[in-house]
């Protein structure tokens, strides 16, 4: 338990970008579009925010609004970039997996290319945000230590988005329609819902959230854009499936990744973990995911029409 309390705030820091990106993936897949391009969209978001923030910080050192402008730009850029995927997979009925791969490739190559051309360097560093304790709440025993100490404002933003997303998905008009499009778009279409529009929305949300995820990595623990997010986008997809396409499931899955990865990273520093072979700790999250997928495979909750292009009028 002590161990958990010790590493929790940092595990959360790692979890949050994963969570928001997986949540983006959730919207896309629930609307019926597989988005394997999350990785690339994160990179795009990281790039856009890094560029914005670094430019603004030249003249506005240490001002917090700069960060938020950067984050906003990342969200918009991610959303914009995801249109490429939306167009290919919704209008052109392209293979969604392949289109996603193309998005990843374009994002990786194009951002580095632009970074080189704009700043003369593939890397862009910025000054990020800092952690704070939440007054009052931090004094709650255990919970205070776990959740209300050492938190980033972006964490609360994402938690807020998680709550809103859950609400939207299950309680609102949009949510009902979105889920219908992922399950059986013909039904949505017959009910007068514009399936294309809903799917566009799903993909755009996934782009926006991925962009946000990329920006959060930048402003919290990385502080530097380097043209890659080291497979986190793919991990987010795994978390989405692991979490059975449900917001709370995703929360649990990403938290698991966050904690497991953090333990593996810091094991050398922690005496009680130092004797476990590091290989075992490094493999732990991936092996557990595989096992979890096997266990959940029986009751898969995948949206039934995910990955299937919708053609109006097709029977």
């Amino acid at each position: 338990m002590d161990l958990i309390i010790q590493i929790f705030p940092y595990a959360i820091a790692y979890t949050i970008p994963l969570l928001i990106v997986a949540l983006g993936g959730l919207f896309s897949e629930r609307s019926g579009v597989v988005n394997i391009g999350l990785e690339g969209l994160m990179v795009v978001g990281g790039f856009a925010s890094a560029l914005t923030i670094s430019k603004l910080q030249e003249t506005h050192q240490g001002e917090v609004w700069v960060i938020w402008v950067g984050i906003l730009v990342a969200v918009l850029t991610g959303a914009l970039f995801s249109l490429l995927h939306a167009f290919a997979s919704i209008n052109l009925h392209a293979d969604q997996v392949i289109s996603g791969i193309a998005i990843n490739m374009i994002a990786g190559a194009l951002t580095i290319f632009l970074a080189r051309n704009i700043t003369g360097s593939g890397n862009i560093s910025i000054n990020g945000i800092t952690r704070t304790d939440i007054p009052v709440l931090k004094n709650i025993p255990i919970l205070g230590d776990l959740f209300f100490k050492n938190t980033y404002s972006t964490t609360w933003l994402v938690i807020g988005i998680l709550i809103i997303s859950t609400f939207v998905l299950y309680k609102t008009r949009l949510g009902l329609r979105l889920r219908a499009c992922g399950e059986y778009p013909q039904a949505a279409d017959a009910a007068g819902i514009n399936v294309y529009r809903i799917r566009y929305l799903g993909v755009i949300i996934s782009g926006a959230f991925s962009g946000l995820g990329g920006a959060i990595i930048l402003v919290t623990y990385s502080g530097e854009f380097t043209g890659s997010v080291a497979g986190l986008g793919f991990l987010a997809i795994a978390a989405l499936i692991f979490g059975q396409w449900k917001p709370l499931g995703i929360l649990a899955a990403t938290l698991f990744f966050g904690v497991a990865t953090t333990i593996a990273n810091v094991s050398q520093v922690i005496p009680s973990l130092a004797h476990i072979p590091p290989l075992a700790l490094k493999l732990f999250p991936y092996v557990v995911t595989l096992i979890a997928l096997v266990i959940f495979s029986k009751s898969s909750q995948a949206p039934k029409s995910v990955g299937v292009a919708y053609e109006k009028g097709k029977r």
Binding site: Y10, N123, S125, G128, Y221, E224, T226, T262, V269, P271
Partner: protein, 346 residues
């Protein structure tokens, strides 16, 4: 542009300097960046046209073949003075120095040798440059210990490559010396000496640093590229909320990376090695026709090839005095810093 294999020098006497990066990028805040900055500085001093006369290429992979390919590209494009940073280039340069006899090569942190035989094979058109990272680490250890006086410190390395290991070992010896001779009481626990296993995983850097700081470590010496950036991020974060923690930078003066406000930085000091100096030295030497081909150069305390930054706003003058004192003793040979692990931690 330029023709194939043309003159090494143009009318102004300028020649073209090329560089091949290793796995890191040109802005790695480490030796790739140092080398490139050195080339630029040297070339600028000599009045080269920077855009045309200097060039770096990034290989597609990290194999000998990838490296040789880029060396060939530079050669064919008329860049016949080629600098490569990193021990990974050892076998590639070993071949290149024979293959491109008209070209000059500088290999930093390594020496040409064949795959089987590790005996150095520095041909007349090649210079091999080493740095005494252990001495730099030693000085950083002294500075850290003397400045902090008591408490825990830590070390985060990237992968276990020679340069990183030498920083680590030197740092440990420096702390020990300060504790024994300079009246400090700094402890460096085995758990706080960590190789993260990566030069890029910033999340790991942040997390490891956080754990160390949470366990009372006051300063962390990082020799870990991007992982170090993660540690710096963590330190800035803590300082912003009023705690006092430090990072000791590596390779170059990282002060600017650690600035959190009003030009205040969490970088206590940096264990520097003069990669840039070495690169610019070589460019100038070639220009003066004094290229020390066939030699293996060591940049160490004796020739000011390593050291701490000139400006150390976070070190007291007392600390600086003591560090300088030790520096001189290393120069004079009174103190010998081991470049081997021996009985040290990791």
């Amino acid at each position: 542009a330029c023709g194939k294999g043309g003159d090494t020098k143009d009318a102004k006497g300028a020649f073209k300097v090329g560089m091949v990066t290793d796995s890191g990028t040109i802005d790695d805040k480490s030796f790739n960046q140092g080398t490139w900055e050195g080339i630029q500085a040297g070339a600028k001093d000599l009045g080269f046209n920077l855009k045309q006369d200097t060039k770096y290429l990034k290989p597609a992979g990290e194999t000998e073949a990838d490296y040789l390919k880029e060396i060939g590209n530079l050669n064919d494009a008329g860049f016949q003075f080629i600098i490569t940073p990193g021990y990974k280039f050892e076998t590639a340069i070993n071949k290149a120095q024979d293959k491109y006899k008209d070209d000059k090569f500088v290999i930093i942190d390594g020496t040409p040798h064949t795959a089987k035989d590790f005996t150095p094979n520095v041909k007349d058109n090649t210079v091999s440059i080493f740095f005494a990272e252990h001495e730099a680490g030693y000085l950083a250890g002294i500075a850290t210990a003397v400045q902090l006086k008591t408490g825990d410190v830590g070390f985060i390395g990237g992968m276990e490559i020679p340069a990183v290991q030498k920083y680590n070992w030197g740092f440990q010896q420096g702390i020990k010396y300060a504790n024994e001779k300079l009246g400090t009481s700094i402890s460096l626990k085995a758990n706080n000496v960590v190789y993260s296993g990566s030069f890029t995983d910033k999340a790991a850097g942040q997390q490891i640093a956080a754990q160390m700081y949470d366990r009372g470590v006051k300063a962390i010496f990082t020799a870990a590229g991007g992982v170090g950036q993660g540690a710096i991020t963590e330190a800035k974060n803590r300082v912003a909320s009023g705690k006092e923690v430090w990072v000791v930078g590596v390779d170059v003066d990282q002060y600017a990376d650690g600035v959190y406000k009003d030009n205040k930085s969490i970088i206590l000091t940096s264990a520097m090695k003069g990669v840039a100096k070495a690169a610019s030295d070589m460019v100038k030497a070639e220009k003066d026709k004094k290229f020390p081909g066939g030699q293996t150069l060591t940049y160490d305390a004796k020739n000011d090839g390593i050291g701490l930054p000139k400006e150390n706003p976070n070190l007291s003058s007392d600390t600086i005095t003591k560090v300088n004192d030790v520096f001189n003793k290393i120069k004079s040979g009174e103190i010998v810093v081991a470049s081997e692990r021996g009985s040290l931690i990791k």
